[in-house]
Symmetry: C2
Subunit: 332 residues, 2 copies
């Protein structure tokens, strides 16, 4: 018998469809192993082809523009535009506002053939640090309310360039999904005086069957009601409302768990395309007791079709307990 | 400057990204023109390979099982299971229930090479009629609360078999997206004493720039805040809370508009993969003044990536006014 499971935070139901039960080898996902292929605007020497650099990590004292280990640049084809007034307008029954915001690219390494999985730990740490730097900077823009940091890895997951990179989009409104998470965890807090994510972490650590890996500061779990096979969340064990891995073992500790999860999925699913997203409190909100920042990672193995579009339900052929077991057992 | 637009019903924001502005020919969508390829369980003569038929349309008096113009059968790999008790259970902080429900396939034609676009109008009418028949029948099962009818056309849109078909999934709960639409349109009604969809239809018909096509009873529009390029909604012009195209010109009138829209997108976008979903009131609810059933159709031209997963926002490179103009102007 299949099972219907509810995500306790956003109330999203998923069908765990055991009859269609799938092991890692059953997914024919397009592997996105990198190959050198023609001109790449993110490779060293081609800095002039991107819009003007926002920040970079270069060796101290070096003035060679092509010597860097990380760069942040505006997206050349931005979804939103940084210059201009934020205007809000009605159009009869409809509402719109001007598309003010930022759209940036974090180029994670100069090496075209590297991925976040196989970069030196220090480089991954730098990427996670750069996310935080950009959040702190964009926070100063009073027009902006929220920054979503995300990574599309592989063409099937929406990456249009092969060279390893993440992106951020800064928005003049708090997006719907984030609002839902905030409202729901606030309601839970009002009822229980506890953070719902802290409660989930406690239950998962005691239970153990959905734990993927952990270190002193972070834990990776297969969520109870995952939208996709091998969906994995990484959460700080200590309550923290905003993405700010400065204490809690620092960026290095987070990099360790993130990279371990990536190695596990790469090994298990033959380097699948994936997306990850950082969910954090809106940056203008005070630190709070009810929301708990985390990373949601989803390998791209299944398709969104009519049922999902029409219902907001997801059908997942791999129970998270099995996914977590495969992840724990794979040798990396 | 790009624009942020809000869907007035579910409050979903989309970015209309004019800088990335796309014409129909800019989308390299995998065309899904059909070819005969090996054994097909939906072709006449192979009836024995599907689970036992639920209903069919056969010529009067014929007892040839292979002579039919439409068949409805259970999905051979159902996401939910029709037999069993509906049990609801807690698991610590989490909630689950048994996966009771129905998952059926509507085989729309015996002809392997046909599509809904080029079937005779009468056959399309029969498909729309069969949807209604199944709704009426499943309504009698007290365990079930909602039926989602949908179509995945083309592999990229999630179809695993080429032979033209739709599906339905009957659920023991009202899905999240439907609940959101119901709540929001009820709130609007409480405030205005009018149906929000009726208001949208009125504004669109007066304005005209997002109207794709219409007949006496139905109108197809490009919604104000579409998730995808060339997204099109078909709505009955007269208020109707439940999918029940018996009056309002009947199934034939709806078939006319649906087939016209399909011809327009096939011509314009070179037979793209697409999904459509019927949004209707839960079948146990009384007829009501606030919800308005409709079909949402989305060609599969863009990818869902990290930004969409993390925010519930969508980035759409084609403004709906332009999409509707292209649709109106294409010769079919």
């Amino acid at each position: 018998m299949p099972e219907l499971r509810k995500d306790p935070v956003v109330g999203r139901w998923v069908i765990i469809s055991i009859e269609r039960g799938k092991r890692p080898s059953d997914f024919a996902s397009p592997s996105h192993k990198r190959r050198v292929s023609g001109f790449c605007p993110f490779c060293p020497g081609n800095e002039y082809t991107t819009p003007a650099e926002i920040m970079a990590i270069r060796p101290e004292g070096s003035d060679d523009p092509a010597k860097w280990s990380l760069r942040v640049v505006p997206n050349k084809f931005p979804a939103l535009q940084i210059d201009g007034e934020l205007e809000k307008l009605g159009e009869g029954i409809f509402d719109k506002m001007s598309g003010v915001g930022a759209h940036e690219v974090i180029i994670e390494s100069p090496d075209h053939l590297s991925s976040l999985t196989n970069l030196p730990r220090k480089d991954v740490e730098n990427v996670l640090w750069a996310y935080h730097q950009r959040l702190m900077d964009l926070k100063n823009d009073p027009r902006l309310k929220y920054v979503l940091i995300f990574k599309n890895e592989g063409e099937a997951a929406g990456a249009s360039l092969e060279h390893t990179h993440s992106q951020l989009i800064a928005l003049p409104i708090v997006p719907k999904l984030v609002k839902e998470e905030l409202t729901s965890s606030r309601n839970y807090y009002d009822m229980k005086e506890r953070c719902i994510f802290c409660d989930i972490i406690n239950q998962e650590l005691q239970d153990g069957k959905r734990v993927v890996c952990e270190n002193e500061n972070y834990v990776a779990i297969a969520p109870y009601a995952p939208r996709a096979p091998f969906e994995t969340w990484i959460l700080p064990k200590r309550h923290e409302s905003h993405y700010k891995p400065l204490e809690n073992g620092g960026f290095s500790s987070l990099a360790e768990v993130l990279q371990r999860v990536l190695k596990q999925i790469d090994k298990l699913l033959d380097v699948p395309p994936y997306n990850y997203m950082i969910h954090t409190s809106p940056f203008n909100d005070e630190e709070n007791e009810y929301y708990h920042w985390h990373i949601e990672l989803m390998p791209k193995l299944t398709k969104i079709a009519g049922f999902e579009w029409g219902s907001g339900f997801y059908i997942n052929p791999t129970p998270p307990e099995e996914a977590a077991r495969y992840m724990r057992e794979v040798e990396i």
